[in-house]
């Protein structure tokens, strides 16, 4: 400090308060009592019991606070920890299984390529069928539609409790919205569609559970990016004219959702989950061609 503030300046009262707070930590009462007693400090009869009682009380308060905090914490923390670890373990297993699926599919396609003669009709049919069933990664021009939930309103300044924002105010977009956009894109002539990089197959389901939109049982969250491959000009023209687009443009103005669509020249969509037929059986194995 270059220039110490004048303690007697009346304008410095509030500043002095802060300086006192930072510099003088000791209760002034100690110094005052010492000055009052003077040099010949005789111990009074209540000195020792007072110190004992005070320290007893302080120790008691400290341990009560400790016990109290740790009594209620463990159950909630234990449940939370065990849930978290179970979710982590399940995610780990799911990741491993997903990697295994990818590996096996790679082996399968290699085996198929070796078994089928290239450029034969059968190989072409297979490729086309895989493309239509969403079993092969594809690339091409198309368009991207983005739906975004409105931003969470900030906490009210009037000391409101957290978490009292109604769910309806933040989760306006549901499975229905994603589904209607996807259906509109199919109608406009898409050849392949993916939602948040989850490829849609003929058996894909877009559903709603809790607060998450599920695509093929994989939860996704806002923003929802729906990519479609097709004739980019045709797609964007058809989509812009559709009732779905105008509905979300209205919602954008009223409920402040985010809604935008652009055409893109180069979109790559991953392969979708394997479709296992559980009930349908091939009728005639020899008649491969339709």
């Amino acid at each position: 400090m270059s220039k110490p503030p004048d303690a007697n300046d009346s304008r410095m009262v509030s500043a002095r308060l802060l300086i006192d707070l930072v510099n003088n930590h000791l209760d002034p009462g100690y110094a005052a009592a010492a000055a009052r007693r003077g040099k010949d400090a005789r111990s009074r009869w209540y000195d020792r019991p007072a110190v004992i009682a005070g320290c007893l009380l302080i120790g008691f308060i400290l341990v009560v606070a400790y016990v109290h905090t740790h009594r209620s914490a463990p159950q909630a923390a234990k449940v939370h920890d065990s849930l978290v670890s179970r979710v982590r373990a399940a995610q780990h297993v799911a990741d491993q299984l997903g990697n295994r699926v990818t590996d096996l599919e790679k082996q399968l396609s290699n085996a198929q390529r070796q078994a089928l003669p290239q450029s034969a009709q059968l190989a072409k049919d297979l490729t086309l069928a895989q493309l239509q069933a969403g079993q092969a990664a594809v690339t091409g021009p198309g368009m991207v539609v983005t739906l975004r939930d409105p931003p969470t309103p900030s906490a009210s300044p009037t000391g409101g409790r957290g978490g009292t924002t109604p769910i309806g105010a933040t989760n306006i977009l549901t499975d229905r919205d994603v589904r209607s956009v996807v259906n509109e894109l199919w109608r406009d002539g898409s050849e392949a569609v993916a939602v948040n990089d989850i490829r849609l197959t003929p058996t894909s389901a877009i559903r709603f559970a809790g607060l998450a939109v599920l695509v093929d049982f994989q939860p996704i969250t806002s923003p929802y990016r729906i990519k479609a491959i097709g004739n980019a000009d045709e797609l964007s023209t058809n989509f812009a004219q559709s009732a779905v687009a105008s509905r979300y443009q209205t919602l954008q103005g009223v409920n402040h959702i985010g809604f935008s669509f652009t055409d893109a020249q180069d979109i790559t969509l991953p392969a979708g989950a394997t479709v296992g037929l559980r009930y349908a059986k091939v009728l005639n194995r020899s008649g491969g061609h339709r």
Binding site: Y30, A33, L57, I58, V64, V67
Partner: protein, 110 residues
């Protein structure tokens, strides 16, 4: 010496009795803990400065806890309880830090 023994006795007493804290007292517990720590460090520093006074120690501790609890209680009634308890913790925390630094200077001369 005797103060340390009493502190340990209080801790043991609390561990043995394990009293349940009534719900209405719960918000004041952290404030009481910080005020208690402030009293301990203040008392220790006064002792090292050679100006310790038992009466000042006990009275300042009890009045600190009472005033802090009163401020928080008033804040709860006005709807700014959490902000005021933050203020109390900040003020007492600065004092604890300062006193701990003074004790450190006394003990280690550093």
């Amino acid at each position: 010496m005797i103060a340390g023994l009493a502190l340990v006795a209080g801790i043991v007493l609390g561990l043995i009795l394990r009293p349940t804290v009534p719900t209405w007292l719960e918000p004041y517990l952290p404030i009481a803990v910080v005020a208690a720590l402030d009293a301990v460090f203040g008392g220790l520093r006064a002792r090292l400065d050679g100006i310790f006074d038992a009466k000042v120690f006990v009275v300042s501790f009890i009045s600190n806890v009472t005033v802090a609890a009163l401020i928080v209680f008033l804040g709860d009634k006005l709807g700014v309880g959490s902000q005021l308890s933050t203020a109390v913790v900040v003020v007492l925390g600065i004092r604890i830090f300062g006193n701990a630094a003074a004790i450190r200077r006394h003990l280690f001369r550093a």
